[in-house]
């Protein structure tokens, strides 16, 4: 039980009356129960969060988004399936490939391993929040210039991770880039372009 409490506390989820103490982990084990409508779930004041849908407000790319999700829904699925923010991709779904990378309070995070309810109260930035086709950030420009993409399915995750990396490591060397982007995977083999792109962007800064 202590582990569950710790998870809840760390995530800062106790702001509603029915969300006292434990919840996330308990709810996740309760998924065999049929989905309960929101009102019914909210009415149960037993300290357990869910298993029905809960209202959550996520701050994504500077905008507050209200949505209802079950506690078991990951941040990635909430973004993609509920909010139609599809830049972050679902590939491995278990924190290996980095295609789902988003920034949470500026730090790169695999959104497939964070529950949406845990992300409440945090600043979430997806690749859509880093730049647009009309106004690209330095990393995005460098990715295009050095052709650091082929099919492009890993690209949003890489761009997001790389943006966080160059903010932390201005003037990064190629060797630092190799170490810094080790948390993302590409299948088409675009790393050669990425090494050039990210070190170029690091030099230019202002990601």
């Amino acid at each position: 039980m202590s582990e569950k409490t710790e998870l809840t506390n760390r995530s800062g989820l106790s702001r509603r009356g029915f969300l006292k103490g434990i919840g996330v982990t308990t709810a996740a084990t309760g998924i065999v129960t049929a989905v309960k409508p929101l009102a019914e779930a909210a009415a149960i004041d037993n300290g357990v969060k869910g298993p029905g849908e809960l209202p959550v407000t996520l701050k994504v790319n500077g905008q507050n988004k209200r949505l209802n999700v079950e506690p078991r829904v990951t941040l990635l699925d909430a973004l993609r399936n509920r909010l139609d923010i599809t830049g972050p991709k679902k590939v491995c779904d278990r924190a290996t490939c980095g295609a789902c990378t988003v920034l949470v309070d500026g730090k790169p995070v695999y959104s497939c391993t964070l529950l949406a309810v845990e992300a409440e109260g945090h600043d979430i930035t997806t690749v859509e929040g880093l730049g647009t086709p009309e106004k690209l950030n330095a990393v995005q420009k460098a990715f295009i210039e050095h052709d650091a993409q082929q099919c492009g399915f890993c690209t949003p995750g890489f761009v997001t991770a790389a943006t966080a990396f160059v903010r932390e490591h201005p003037n990064a060397t190629i060797e630092q880039v190799r170490a810094g982007l080790g948390g993302n995977l590409c299948r088409c083999g675009t790393y050669a372009g990425m090494l050039l792109a990210v070190s170029d962007a690091a030099k230019k800064g202002a990601a």
Binding site: T86, C97, Q149, Q150, C151, N184, R187, Y191, G193
Partner: protein, 716 residues
């Protein structure tokens, strides 16, 4: 009238230049919508129920509990007609599917489907040729026994192989489907837009001409995404049943275990060679699995097809694994690994330098001059002369040994049938349409380059629309045939459109249409270039009807006209380090020299070669579908244990394109397959050169390296 040909080098404005891909901004910002990203109002999520057994007779499929779950809207289950086999042939074979309001409900509902299975004995092992029950495939030329018996020759025997690997497309197979008013709309992840619907209509009871395909971006195919597949059919049936759009994308474990699968190949090889290094004979027994289907043994000897005495026996092993799918350069990486390893071992047995040995034998290939030139360039690029040593003689006293390895390869190319339609509107806008697809190779960009170059316009003055089967049909992207197909059809359509425009403005410029050319945003007189009209003004003079022109690629005609060609060579050299205490192999450097004919889009073509090296490094060092003999299941159907190379694993890569005079005249040739063939062989040879023993099978994992060192001649 301008005819369809490629412009001379000094007339090219975009062709062959380093141009950034035109969809780069969409892809780097998340704006590009892949099939997986398509969301529709009221859309349902589908999940599949699959056999957990590698071989089992499927009994009753009870979906009642799933149907009773709130939120479930449609259910499909496998039915069997008289005479159908009821046996699941691999773990992961689809038996049922559910569609529900959310992905979570669908996942839960799929778990509630109860299926009765009667397990049968399965077979997933492919390592022993004695397991083959099919009739062997035999080919023989000359007399190998006689050649081996020659007193002036030496013989060398070795064993080599590569396991089944899986495509691991980052965007899994699948699609969004909507059946509405008797029409079927599908957004599939496919490499075959125009012919995706083949047979789909019959399968789901909707006429072929009422199926609308749209695939703007797709997240990798590599040969595995040509057909609509079972899930394409199920998605349509679930949508028909529910009246709602349905998204059905494979979960990662199913993607890896069932939607990929490049056949394995293992071989016992005996090579005979004269003491000067000339190879005289190759005798090989080759075996492997393509899953439950037939097996086509790889070409051995590969590239060195003129070796006078060869005998090859191929044996297929049927296994209860997911079916084989085409993988970039089908069978070539297998043939290359087996052949190049055996030849390098032969060079080592003769105590000959590997490069000298390959150069000695290029006369036994179809293009000796090309390979000789490419091998020499590759050797220069990697500093071969400074670094080379005989097998096992490098690396000094420490545990880390360094070595070089060589491989050469070939591929066809040509171009698939393709049609293109170009519209020039009165406002000067140009719209190009093809039922083609961009797998990430830069197809959109290449089409844009060809049309803009032909019409004398900047790239952004031409709109390129692909990805729909309502556009003029273009072939599937396989076998490096796309660029040959689309470059000719778009060049032909653009030329035809330009001829019509020139005809329309000839009188105004007081000259003949065939004395006009398009250049720098104007139509001008060829022999008096100051007599011109701007593109905009020329188009404004068009009547109410826009110019609509069609062009097509007819492969044989285009080849005869030297617009496209087939048959390329490439050479690669790897420089690796092997830690003989830990068994870890590190790539220091790799060079690829590639013959590719006329290059349309240089930047994206180079990217494909870099990508091929990296994909080859991945399969050489990490990739293998590991199957459990007892349960018959794939043990590593996830991305932690089915490893892909990361950015730190690739070393330094160099790419050299054989282009310009002597190559350009051949016309356009595709590049998707050739450079992905050699890396495994070159890396394996480099490891052997470094540590003194052959590690027989890919991937070259630490355990295999250490086992080979322990067993082999070892290193001093």
């Amino acid at each position: 009238m301008a005819k369809v040909d490629w412009p001379a080098a000094d007339k090219r404005t975009h062709i062959g230049k380093r141009i950034s891909r035109i969809d780069g901004a969409a892809k780097t910002t998340g704006a590009a919508k892949y099939s997986y990203d398509i969301n529709h109002p009221q859309m349902l999520w589908a999940k599949l129920v699959t056999s957990p057994h590698a071989k089992a007779e499927i009994g009753d499929i009870d979906t009642s509990a799933a149907e009773a779950l709130p939120g479930v809207k449609a259910v499909w289950k496998q039915t069997f007609k008289e005479g159908d086999s009821k046996t699941a042939q691999y773990a992961g074979q689809i038996v049922a599917a559910v569609a529900a309001e959310t992905e979570e409900i669908a996942t839960e509902a799929a778990r509630l489907v109860k299926v009765q299975y009667t397990e049968q004995e399965h077979q997933v092992v492919d390592s022993d040729p004695a397991l083959s029950k099919d009739r062997p495939n035999e080919r023989a030329v000359g007399n190998v026994e006689q050649a081996f018996a020659d007193g002036d020759s030496i013989t060398m025997s070795g064993i080599y192989g590569l396991p089944v690997i899986t495509h691991c497309c980052l965007e899994p197979h699948g699609q969004v489907t909507e059946v509405k008013d008797g029409e079927l709309y599908v957004w599939p992840s496919t490499q075959n837009v125009s012919r995706y619907t083949d047979r789909l209509g019959d399968a789901v009871g909707i006429p072929q001409n009422k199926i609308h395909v749209d695939c703007q971006h797709m997240g990798g195919g590599f040969g595995s995404k040509f057909n609509f597949d079972k899930w394409g059919e199920i998605g349509a049936l679930l949508s028909k049943q529910s009246g709602r759009p349905v998204k059905l994308m494979l979960d990662r474990d199913l993607e890896l275990a069932t939607a990929g699968n490049r056949p394995s190949a293992y071989a016992k090889v005996k090579v005979g060679a004269k003491k000067d290094g000339t190879v005289t004979a190759v005798d090989a027994e080759v075996w492997g699995t393509g899953g439950n289907g037939g097996y086509n043994p790889p070409p051995v000897p590969y590239v060195f097809t003129k070796i006078p005495n060869t005998k090859v026996v191929g044996k297929g092993i049927r296994t209860n694994r997911g079916g084989q799918r085409a993988w970039r350069a089908p069978n070539h990486p297998q043939g290359c690994l087996i052949t190049m390893s055996a030849l390098a071992d032969c060079a080592a047995a003769l105590k000959m330098d590997e490069l000298d040995f390959f150069l000695k034998n290029v006369t036994q290939t179809d293009r000796p001059k090309v390979y000789e030139e490419e091998l020499k360039i590759a050797a220069d690029l990697i500093g071969y002369k400074q670094k080379a040593h005989l097998r096992g003689q490098g690396g000094g006293a420490g545990p880390v040994k360094r070595g070089l390895g060589i491989a050469i390869h070939t591929w066809g190319g040509l171009g698939h049938p393709s049609e293109c339609e170009i519209t020039i509107n009165q406002d000067g806008s140009v719209v190009t349409k093809l039922g083609s697809q961009d797998l990430g190779v830069g197809n959109r960009t290449a089409i844009n380059i060809v049309v803009a170059d032909t019409l004398g316009l900047p790239l952004n003055a031409v709109q390129v629309e692909i990805g729909k089967n309502s556009y003029p049909p273009s072939g599937g992207s396989g076998g490096s045939t796309t660029i040959g197909g689309v470059s000719v059809s778009s060049r032909a359509a653009a030329t035809e459109a330009l001829n019509k425009l020139c005809a329309a403005v000839a009188m105004r410029l007081n000259t003949q249409a065939d004395n006009l050319e398009a250049r720098d945003g104007s139509i001008r007189q060829i022999d008096k270039t100051e007599n011109k009209v701007s593109w905009k003004d020329a188009c404004a003079a068009l009547g109410p009807n826009p110019i609509v022109a069609r062009g097509k690629n007819v492969p044989a005609e285009s080849r005869a006209a030297k617009l496209i060609d087939q048959g390329v060579g490439g050479a690669q050299i790897a420089d690796v380090s092997v830690d003989i205490e830990t068994g870890i192999v590190t790539i220091n450097e790799m060079v690829a020299v590639q013959d590719v004919g006329l290059i349309i889009s240089l930047k994206t073509a180079e990217s494909q070669v870099y990508g091929s090296l990296i994909m080859g490094i991945t399969s050489a060092l990490f990739e293998e579908c590991v199957y459990d003999k007892k349960t018959g299941r794939m043990l590593n159907a996830d991305m932690e244990f089915y490893r892909l190379a990361g950015i730190k694993d690739i070393g330094t890569l160099k790419v050299h394109m054989m282009t310009g005079a002597g190559y350009d005249e051949r016309g356009v040739i595709g590049i998707g397959e050739p450079p992905v063939i050699s890396p495994g062989a070159a890396i394996s040879n480099a490891v052997a050169n470094a540590c003194g023993v052959r590690v027989p099978y890919l991937p070259l994992t630490p355990d295999r390296v250490l086992a080979a060192l322990q067993k082999g001649e070892g290193i001093v």
